[in-house]
């Protein structure tokens, strides 16, 4: 544990130095970085929620982020060991998105940390995600306002994803109306943006724009040009995840099968067919 405290000490020293440099530069911090949005955007998450994504308005310092993230219980006490601390921060290439991974050992039943400490958050309770001013942008400027997001905790979500239960809102042929998918639960927003696509009858990717609905519980695609009176496919990569890491056809938790040679589905795609309607037709 000595190594840990040392790291923190050095980190604080580094932050102090960066701060001094930023202040010395005068008005450089007028436009302080802020938390733009946190995903999931919902006010409630399952107790086995796997991660949060924090979007900042500016590119952030990789080293300043670990110390800035805290989970507080309903009494305002920090929940120790709730968040995964790695060797390198899970920061997007543009420096603006931090992935806050819940300690997988505590999310997963049967693992040492879970058995000893339980899940970090439990159903029926509330907790608060806090991003503090330890977070600094690449100029050395601290977060303008402390960010707090209070969340209700729902029961664990343990079921695999089954796209067959989704509801499709089919557009009209000859229009650029959106095709909308009403999902059965909130999903991981990165997954929704990157793991679902529309293909035409020839298998070609249809260009267009993807948007998400409230609480990431619906997916909407607006084509770049009008729909043909033809068949299309909504193609879903089985890596698609909900908030708890459950995937298409495979829950996050799988009891080990005795047959070591099988039982693990390869990554693949599943497709939902649709055909844009014709106005006036039933």
């Amino acid at each position: 544990m000595k190594a840990c405290s040392w790291r923190r000490g050095l980190l604080l020293a580094a932050l102090a130095a960066a701060s001094a440099q930023a202040h010395a530069a005068g008005s450089v911090c007028d436009d302080a970085p802020r938390v733009d949005v946190v995903y999931p955007t919902s006010q409630a998450v399952p107790e086995n929620v796997l991660r949060f994504y924090v979007y900042f308005t500016r590119a952030m310092q990789r080293h300043s982020l670990a110390a800035s993230v805290r989970l507080l219980d309903s009494n305002g006490s920090e929940i120790e060991g709730a968040v995964y601390r790695g060797r390198y921060e899970l920061l997007s290439a543009d420096g603006k998105r931090l992935t806050v991974l819940m300690n997988p050992g505590r999310v997963k039943t049967g693992l040492d940390s879970h058995e000893l400490l339980g899940r970090a958050v439990s159903a029926g309770k509330t907790f608060t995600l806090v991003i503090g001013p330890e977070a600094r942008d690449t100029r050395g400027c601290p977060l303008g306002d402390r960010y707090r997001k209070q969340l209700q905790v729902l029961p664990a979500r343990l079921q695999a994803i089954d796209p067959e239960v989704w509801g499709l809102e089919i557009p009209e042929a000859g229009t650029q109306e959106s095709v909308a998918v009403h999902l059965d639960r909130p999903y991981d927003h990165v997954s929704l943006y990157h793991r679902i696509r529309v293909r035409d009858r020839s298998g070609a990717l249809v260009p267009g724009t993807i948007g998400l609905g409230e609480n990431e519980q619906s997916w909407r695609f607006t084509p770049g040009s009008a729909w043909q009176d033809s068949h299309y496919e909504l193609v879903i990569n089985t890596l698609l995840e909900d908030l708890a890491g459950n995937r298409v056809g495979r829950p996050f938790e799988v009891v080990h099968e005795e047959d070591a040679s099988g039982g693990i589905a390869p990554v693949r795609e599943v497709a939902l067919q649709f055909r844009p309607g014709r106005r006036g037709a039933n």
């Binding site: 544990m1 040392w6 080293h63 390198y88 920061l91 990717l205 267009g208």
Partner: protein
């Protein structure tokens, strides 16, 4: 410690690239220069692999220039107690603004390389530093070095836009290992939760030749997990190339390399539980010479939150041949599986295999608050100067049965340069 005179110009050019400034030099090849440097691993000859989390790529950099044709046959030790101070002076920055990422040693020349970032109000600038056994320190000029780059992610779909800017999952590399023309890359995704292990043939080339593999391991309570590999090493178990991987908190897993196929999903075997509440930093495999002078291969797991764990490769092979752990190991301080011992190598930022006699550790000195670059003798895993003991008293008399101890302590004193303290 000698400071090279050409450093200032090299530092300046790196500064320009680090900030992405629009200069003719930066514009020449902007996509190829590292934008950040973290995990390091030596490949063939003088090729250093460098993970770049900003470009989401691996660079292969020829560091021949920094080697100056050196060849060191004798296994010598690094004793650079003022390393952090000297490096900060060379870069003309405060020590607190240095962020260290990794250490690797070029074996034939015994030159150590460090990836680091310098934090300033302009952002973090990446640097690659080299240091010799004598403490000659240099900052490498990457724009002049031969290098090639391979991306870690597929290019984004063309023609698809988003209502808001949502970067795809990227891979934060946790460890690199090179063997027989293949670079093994373990990483943690920023998005979908999967432990990913890739094999990238080197020289970099055909993208289709690489594989992406999800790793599952049978963990406690008979659950499969998609936990991230934190550190790994490649070993040979009875002619079978095997990855030994450590996960958080801290199960140890073996994976048969022959089973890694394009797109395959494989299960590793949990062979040991080394302790809870810990992040493994690295795994090293090397030979340790016993009392009889015979070399025996060992594996050492370097940890952030506890002492390093040492085990023989034969013990790992025995575990690998067994069914593996399947019962929960849930209890404070409990360990299970492969027989291992704890050695006093701790408080380290990173450790690299240096030569047949030594490991090289980048280490924080807890008393002085300094950053040190120190060698640790394999077999002892300690520095004699870090302990005050009665053996150091001038009037201490070694007893008859302590001859081995006397010789061993004398050896450790020579390692650290305290030849005047050698005791008869």
């Amino acid at each position: 410690m000698k400071i090279t005179t050409r450093t200032l110009t090299l530092t300046f050019s790196l500064f320009l690239f680090g900030c992405g400034a629009d200069t003719s030099l930066a514009a020449k090849n902007p996509s190829e220069l590292p934008a950040a440097m973290t995990a390091l691993e030596f490949g063939p000859d003088a090729t250093l692999f460098v993970a770049d989390p900003v470009r989401n790529a691996i660079h292969a950099i020829d560091v021949s220039d920094a080697l100056d044709g050196r060849a060191v046959a004798e296994p010598l030790a690094f004793n650079l107690t003022d390393f952090g101070k000297e490096l900060a002076a060379l870069l003309k920055v405060d020590q607190a603004s240095l962020n260290y990422y990794d250490v690797a040693v070029h074996a034939p020349s015994q030159v150590a390389f460090l990836s680091l970032g310098v934090q300033s109000s302009d952002g973090e600038r990446p640097y690659l530093a080299s240091v010799t056994l004598d403490g000659d320190l240099e900052i490498l000029s990457l724009d002049k070095a031969e290098r090639s780059t391979t991306p870690l992610e597929s290019p984004p779909d063309t023609g698809i836009t988003f209502m808001r800017d949502v970067p795809a999952s990227s891979l934060v590399v946790t460890d690199l290992d090179y063997s027989d023309g293949v670079l093994y890359v373990s990483g943690l995704s920023t998005g979908e939760f999967a432990s990913t292990l890739r094999q990238i043939p080197y020289p970099f080339g055909d993208e289709a030749a690489r594989t992406s593999i999800e790793m599952f391991h049978t963990a406690h309570g008979q659950q499969e997990t998609r936990a991230p590999i934190r550190a790994m090493t490649l070993v040979d178990i009875d002619g079978k190339k095997t990855i030994v991987a450590a996960y958080t908190c801290t199960p140890l897993v073996t994976i048969d390399v022959d089973k890694l196929e394009d797109g395959a999903h494989i299960k590793g075997k949990t062979i040991a539980e080394l302790g809870y509440g810990n992040q493994p930093l690295d795994i090293l495999s090397f030979d340790v010479y016993g009392m009889d002078g015979k070399a025996e291969p060992h594996v050492l797991v370097i940890n952030r939150d506890m002492g390093a764990k040492l085990m023989s490769l034969s013990a790992i092979a025995d575990s690998d041949a067994s069914p593996g752990l399947s019962a929960p190991v849930a209890g404070i301080g409990l360990t299970a599986g492969t027989e291992h011992i704890t050695v006093p190598l701790s408080g380290v930022v990173q450790v690299a295999d240096q030569n047949p006699q030594f490991l090289l550790a980048l280490k924080r000195n807890l008393e002085r608050g300094t950053t040190e670059l120190l060698s640790y003798r394999k077999g002892s895993y300690m520095r004699i100067s870090e302990f005050q003991s009665e053996y150091n008293f001038p009037d201490y008399e070694y007893a008859e049965g302590q001859e081995f101890l006397r010789q061993f302590q004398n050896q450790l004193k020579v390692d650290e340069g305290y030849t005047v303290r050698v005791r008869d």
